[in-house]
Symmetry: C2
Subunit: 259 residues, 2 copies
């Protein structure tokens, strides 16, 4: 059982305050992951172990403010080495804090900086080297990747979103399950209620017309589109449901293309 879990930047940080970690939320994530790996999830004590777990986290207030200031997106790049390095450093700082919290809870987490492993072609296609992550999993570690910058042919460097990493990892590793722990409890319909299942984009297109205006890495509409393209079933849920997801449940919104 291979699980790719992304914890959104909006869960781990306070987006309104630059580079501020939400320590309570981070602690909740660390405890949930540690509990699932130990097989003692209160939500499902007899659930099978998670097995191989890869974590990805977004940038939240660490990455987005830098990206906004420099006008860099996933398609519009930068050639300013200092600015690129500053965005990368903000993300690795957050990653170090996340990895430290996980290790403190007993999770054998290791930091993985995608800037060193990923590249984008001139057409925007992402290539991610996953051999290091695969070896870490075989050795019973929990690799922790993060939204980052990426060298981009013809553009210098652009933004690499956590959502893109989730897709690349799920495909390369043949993930059995994908989870997106988000700032909202799932995909919401026009009334603000959680949609149980999404099997096609059209079914929720109306409710997902807009994305978070300040989020250069894509809002819910983009997440749903990319998750529908995966072989693996995916769930979008809030922090309160992370334990249930890791225990094998299907909280929030289940996303899998109708077939």
């Amino acid at each position: 059982m291979t699980v790719v879990l992304k914890v959104g930047g909006s869960v781990l940080t306070r987006k309104s305050e630059p580079e501020t970690v939400d320590e309570a939320a981070l602690g909740t994530v660390a405890e949930a992951v540690a509990g699932a790996l130990a097989g003692d999830s209160p939500a499902a004590p007899a659930a099978p172990a998670v097995g191989d777990l890869v974590l990805v986290h977004g940038g939240g207030s660490f990455g987005h403010h830098h990206a906004d200031r420099h006008g860099v997106t996933r398609t519009a790049g930068l050639h300013d080495a200092s600015a690129i390095t500053a965005i990368h450093a903000a993300m690795t700082d957050l990653n170090a804090t996340v990895v430290d919290a996980l290790q403190g809870a007993g999770v054998p987490a290791l930091p993985v900086a995608p800037f060193a492993a990923a590249t984008r072609g001139a057409d925007g296609t992402l290539a991610l080297a996953t051999a290091p992550v695969e070896t870490m999993l075989e050795e019973d570690f929990v690799p922790v990747l993060h939204g980052d910058v990426v060298a981009h042919a013809g553009e210098g460097a652009t933004i690499l979103s956590g959502d893109e990493l989730v897709v690349a990892l799920a495909r390369a590793l043949g993930a059995d399950r994908v989870g997106l722990c988000s700032g909202v409890p799932g995909v919401l319909d026009e009334d603000g209620d959680v949609v149980d299942q999404v099997g096609s984009f059209d079914a929720v297109a109306g409710a997902l017309g807009g994305s978070d205006a300040t989020d250069v890495t894509g809002g819910m509409a983009g997440k749903v589109r990319t998750l529908l393209d995966l072989e693996a079933p995916a769930n979008v849920f809030g922090l309160e449901a992370l334990g249930a997801f890791l225990a094998g449940g299907n909280p929030g919104t289940s996303i899998r293309r109708d077939r």
Copy 2:
């Protein structure tokens, strides 16, 4: 013209004092690299531009003390995620300082953490993903890699030396020249004099009997062996000759297998 240049940890740091950068030496390196990229090397004003340049630096006092404390080498690994992360963090701290100094001198340097891009098989063979470095070069950046830890099948994580990175990069990029800027002015014979040229290991085996006892990543004997296996000609020289090497000269010891 693609050049792979390693600056030894013993040049950049004070090995006797843990995690102390030799700021003067680092400044000298940064100015020499900046001058070579600008084509204004005083040593050879009309020399062709360096073209694509990849930098690698060793750990010096940043990496070795951690490695020694945990008993980890290139073959004997660790499964302790906190210890692995501490070694990695010490190396990325040094890398950030090196990248910052280079940028300050006008070099478009970018940090590349090999832990995210490399893996070792059970037989110790290193695989390094170099696509990100190649894209950075195409975009006129100067990638700066560093000695690091690496996920190792069956061993957890082991040490990845700067010398190993030089070999992997030179091969993958088809480098035209390789330089090792070292704490000594070249390969020394039994009398302590610099050997001009080395074409086989046997010719210098007597003088290279021992390696630095405290250096888990291999001393001069290991460097000579690996450089002899490269297609590209290599030079080992001291900091005072870095400008001359970057200007196209062959300072210190030239190493290329007799053929």
